[in-house]
């Protein structure tokens, strides 16, 4: 069958090029995903390992996040108690409280008048008789102050203590920083642990992806050689492996998110029951949108870096013969 083809040699036109380039990338990404999903078992294993590795620091992060919120609910009581001079009336105490409420550092300033303080004591079993022996009220007026959460650090509290002690109306200041400091230390520790764990397991993810890509390069050696024979550039050959690494990372990050969310859902029931016993409510917080984005972005970057390392180490050795 004769079919004259007079068309002379011509490359893609310049106008086609950017579209073709982008199209090639999208197609390459989709094709790589397709290839990964074509071997669901192998891909699933790699993704699961990455997911579990990333779920650990993510879960610890969720834990500290929840602890922080729990304690945020705790500091209902004052962290600072201001004992005023004995000779000040309750009205004077209200005046001092009024001035202190102007301070931006304080969330709440509560006046416990001398009479109220006495009544509170009287309510305690055994105290009533003892107090009856006294002719005058021995208790001063007290201001219970709750600082804003941002000022509830040991350093800030120490500064506040100093300034409050210099007020003329104040007899002495008592600060309950002990629990704050301890709690802060625990949170710091947990936070450091999250970072350490994330670093260590991130390195693990790097190695997992790197090794998976290395094996894939080995398996597809023949194909790579033939692609080089017909003029594939290094970047063209690299591309599907880099996409595979990014996909592994992204899918691993998604499964980490899934695992953590599953754990939060599973724990919500027991936590609610526990909270009920304390006549309280405590909705567990899961991974927020920001944390999710960080995990997905981070895991994708780890996958990409892992495959980049493997590709640079192992593709160089593949030469056609």
């Amino acid at each position: 069958m004769a079919r004259p083809q007079s068309r002379r040699r011509s490359g893609p036109s310049l106008l086609e090029l950017p579209g073709a380039w982008l199209g090639h990338h999208l197609q390459s990404a989709a094709a790589t995903l397709g290839r990964l999903l074509h071997a669901p078992l192998a891909t699933g294993m790699t993704v699961a390992v990455i997911g579990i590795a990333l779920a650990l620091p993510a879960a610890l992060y969720v834990l500290t996040d929840n602890l922080r919120q729990l304690v945020g609910g705790w500091d209902q009581g004052a962290a600072i108690s201001l004992f005023l001079h004995q000779d000040l009336s309750d009205a004077d105490a209200q005046g001092v409280a009024g001035r202190l409420r102007e301070w931006p550092e304080f969330r709440r300033v509560q006046v416990i008048g001398a009479a109220a303080a006495l009544a509170e004591f009287r309510a305690q079993p055994g105290f009533a008789e003892a107090l009856d022996q006294l002719s005058t009220n021995p208790l001063p007026a007290v201001l219970a102050i709750a600082p804003q959460p941002v000022y509830a650090t040991p350093a800030e509290i120490a500064g506040l203590e100093e300034r409050l002690g210099q007020l003329p109306e104040v007899d002495f200041v008592r600060v309950d920083t002990q629990w704050l400091m301890r709690f802060q230390a625990i949170l710091d520790l947990a936070q450091t642990l999250v970072l350490l764990l994330a670093g260590l397991l991130g390195l693990g993810v790097l190695l997992i992806v790197g090794n998976t890509i290395r094996l894939e390069i080995q398996n597809r050696r023949g194909e790579i050689e033939i692609m080089e024979l017909v003029g594939a550039t290094a970047s063209f050959i690299r591309r599907p492996f880099l996409y595979a690494g990014a996909w592994y990372g992204l899918l691993g990050g998604l499964s980490a998110w899934f695992l953590v969310t599953l754990a939060v859902v599973a724990l919500q029931g027991p936590v609610s029951r526990l909270a009920n016993l304390y006549r309280s409510e405590f909705p567990l917080a899961g991974l927020g949108a920001v944390a999710l984005l960080i995990i997905l972005g981070g895991s994708m970057a780890l996958g990409l870096i892992g495959s980049w390392i493997a590709v640079n180490r192992h593709l160089r050795g593949v030469e056609p013969d």
């Binding site: 004769a2 083809q5 073709a20 033939i226 080089e228 024979l229 017909v230 003029g231 290094a234």
Partner: protein, 238 residues
């Protein structure tokens, strides 16, 4: 009769396509596989490369395709000295050279169509253009109906023709074939050589290494005889 106008090689114009300048290739384990080899080939020429086994035919072709680098001397292809070609430019050089191997070198898990399309995919051509050119190339080698088959489902001669279609699909001006008919019976081998003859007719420059002296005798083309890595005979341009 099929038209081969789709392959666009240069017309024989006196333009130099290949020049070997005192080329030596030494393998440390073996010694010189090629020694002091010099020749020139012009655009549109068709050259047979013969010689005993181990004479250095494959080595010569591999130097042109940059699968190997000379130990001494210079190889110049299309006016470019391959010794000074930076690593990143090698793929672009290979796109100008279609290579055909005795063992076909097809991807076993890809269809005939995908195998032939590879050079075009690698060069970043669009879908439509790839489909058009691959079908044209398959049509020329008479395998249009087998485009979905896997290489294992093809006979040796058919696989070789797929390899040939892949080598010419991107319309390279230069085609190298290393014993393309090594495993084929005389009829098939005649068919393959007829194919090369038609490529030659439309101006493609061809170099074909072969033991098949009967086929070489059928045509009157320039023939190189290699022995012990030396060019002992060059019939000159016919």
């Amino acid at each position: 009769m099929r038209s081969f106008a789709f392959i666009c090689g240069q017309e024989s114009s006196g333009e130099q396509v290949i020049r070997f300048d005192h080329v030596c290739k030494r393998y440390p384990e073996r010694g010189d596989a090629l020694s002091d080899l010099s020749f020139e080939m012009e655009a549109g020429e068709m050259v047979f490369l013969t010689g005993h086994s181990g004479a250095g035919k494959s080595t010569l072709l591999r130097l042109i395709g940059l699968l190997e680098r000379p130990s001494r001397g210079q190889v110049i292809v299309n006016g470019r000295n391959l010794a000074t070609l930076p690593r990143g430019k090698i793929p672009y050089h290979r796109r100008q050279v279609g290579m055909i191997f005795q063992d076909h070198r097809l991807l076993p898990d890809r269809s005939v169509f995908e195998n032939v399309a590879l050079p075009l995919v690698v060069a970043g051509l669009g879908h439509k253009e790839i489909g058009r050119r691959v079908r044209a190339a398959l049509d020329q080698v008479g395998l249009l109906k087998r485009e979905r088959a896997l290489p294992v489902a093809l006979s040796g001669g058919e696989q070789q023709r797929v390899g040939i279609a892949r080598a010419v699909v991107a319309r390279p001006p230069l085609v190298l074939a290393d014993e393309p008919t090594g495993n084929l019976d005389p009829d098939l081998s005649r068919e393959i050589f007829a194919l090369f003859e038609r490529f030659h007719a439309v101006g493609v420059t061809l170099m074909i290494a072969t033991h098949d002296l009967a086929r070489v005798g059928d045509f009157h083309h320039r023939t190189f005889v290699l022995s012990e890595g030396r060019l002992i005979k060059d019939t000159g341009v016919c």
